[in-house]
Subunit: 344 residues, 2 copies
């Protein structure tokens, strides 16, 4: 049985080249994939030809328009009816593809998915999940921006959807789900989390498929206690972007500190060379640890179809990982189990 | 003219020793300081004697009870009427001291300050400001947890109060104030920030003492664009704690990566020695960059008195810095200018 995925070939900072190379790698690795690269036909064709790909599991579908990373999502979708995002998602809407992957404008992908795809049965509001890898072990955050002002029941549903995702896709046997708060005592928090707490408890406990940890604070996220943390999309977005901004800044600081030492050791060329290679290795390790795109992009959970939004800065490896995760979500029937859990 | 500061001698993980040593350093450095160390008299006396201090600008005031770091603030304040926090703050309430400094239970300090001190004239709700030093340049965040569900006008007041603080205490000539959001376009955000935006604009523009940047996202904070970012206490707390947790985790990761290299270089003792000193230097630099306690603790802005809450892990240097900032706030009349700006 094959898994068909519609790929926005024009998404991200280095499209279509990076996207097409990632797609070709996925097609080489997984023989059951059928990929549709969606974008301006000539441009995508040239990018595909450049890879030397000769197989028949990748085809190109023309979409003449492109939504830029900085465009206002709703306006862009209204004006550009034949954008690569809209045309690719229409494949999922019509059943011609099971999944959609894009490294493009996140807002436009989320808005288009909500316009074109039905909500998954039982789901009130979709949420974006990201996996942050910098902790003692990776943890997932849901939502990071699809739902800025959620109701308490949305947070409980995010807990269920995220626990299904982490169990089936990341292989965590019994995901421990925390509710983001400013303290761990019962009395802490805003009205949203105080109401959401018991709803999460009910939705996540009493099954062997998930656990509810209770409240968790921002600094504890990185200590490996929880596999999932749920929160409103405003806080989740702050959490994600602060992590990205700080990690980038610290990488730079560390690089500068280390390079300063390399320069001071320049009188001894052997030592300087060894230090320089050490610096390079450490920074590379650090970057791959903090780069969440390594973990396969961000699924939009709760729509009837598999939707993965990769980082705009994705390289071919990140695109490959997004396709790998999309394939895995389809094969393991994540959506069917979400609907089943929520129907209880 | 002297500046009198009441110090909670029992606050923090290593009280009273660390607090007393920081206080002695401040008394040595600033001849205009008059410090009152508040705590169980015998214990504080012994700690002071251990420093060898012989001056007359430090006195001890007995407070037999101590509120622990993990205690529930309101309950602890009700049960322990003679806690070091309550007794020290009573000095400010009664005009015997101008400022209060504690490295103790943050919630108890905030609650006690709100109970005992009047709000500053014109201020609707106090807010906690922290300075984060990891960016291209330091930036201040207000609020980080005193006001979990603010109204839009509170955020505008935080902008004004923080800009007075950064100008007078940190010496930023015309602080640029941003409003934390999930994007920079006008249409983005929850109801709170959408309403707060124009209030901030009105409160911060049209004066040479501050500027309003508009919305700012979490990752941009570290690029040095804004001197101040205002936000609800929930998001601000997430921002602060995620920064602390991630910075600590990355320090650990980098330390491990570098120590691994040291071990691999063990066959060459000169290289290994150089690497080890490099590791130490880099990590030390990193830690002092990310440690916000270096910047003098967190003022609770908007109460009639100067209140500074230092980190529970403060060392004598951090206590010294908190006292230095408290003194500076008093000397530069931060509160008078806040009231004047808000009265306009």
């Amino acid at each position: 049985l094959s898994v068909s995925i519609a790929v926005d070939a024009m998404g991200g900072d280095h499209a279509p080249g990076v996207v097409v190379r990632g797609a070709v790698r996925a097609a080489q690795e997984f023989s059951d994939l059928e990929l549709v690269l969606v974008g301006p036909e000539g441009e995508v064709r040239r990018a595909l030809d450049e890879t030397g790909w000769r197989g028949d599991s990748i085809r190109i579908q023309d979409a003449p328009e492109v939504i830029g990373m900085g465009e206002s999502p709703i306006e862009a979708l209204r004006k550009k009816r034949r954008s690569s995002i809209a045309v690719a998602l229409a494949n999922v809407q019509q059943g011609a593809a099971r999944a959609f992957v894009s490294a493009g404008n996140t807002g436009a992908c989320v808005a288009a998915a909500q316009l074109l795809l039905r909500p998954l049965e039982g789901v009130k509001r979709p949420g974006i999940l990201v996996t942050i890898t910098a902790g003692e072990k990776p943890f997932c955050v849901c939502d990071v921006g699809a739902n800025i002002q959620p109701r308490p029941e949305h947070l409980a549903q995010y807990g269920v959807m995220s626990s299904v995702f982490t169990r089936k896709v990341l292989g965590v046997p019994e995901p421990n789900v925390g509710l983001l708060n400013v303290g761990e005592e019962e009395a802490k928090g805003n009205d949203l989390v105080k109401t959401a707490r018991s709803l999460c408890e009910t939705a996540l406990s009493g099954t062997s498929n998930s656990r509810f940890h209770g409240y968790i604070e921002g600094d504890e996220l990185f200590s490996g206690i929880c596999d999932v943390v749920v929160c409103d999309g405003f806080s989740g977005n702050v959490l994600l972007k602060v992590s990205e901004g700080l990690a980038e800044r610290l990488s730079k600081l560390i690089g500068e500190a280390l390079m300063g030492s390399v320069k001071r050791a320049a009188a001894d060329p052997v030592l300087a060379g060894q230090l320089a290679s050490l610096v390079k290795g450490t920074l590379g390790e650090l970057r791959s640890t903090i780069d969440y795109s390594e973990f396969g992009g961000a699924p939009l959970l709760g729509v009837d179809g598999t939707v993965i939004i990769a980082h705009g800065r994705s390289d071919p490896n990140a695109i490959f990982n997004a396709l790998r995760v999309a394939r895995r979500m389809v094969e393991t029937n994540v959506n069917a189990e979400i609907s089943e859990r929520l129907a209880r």
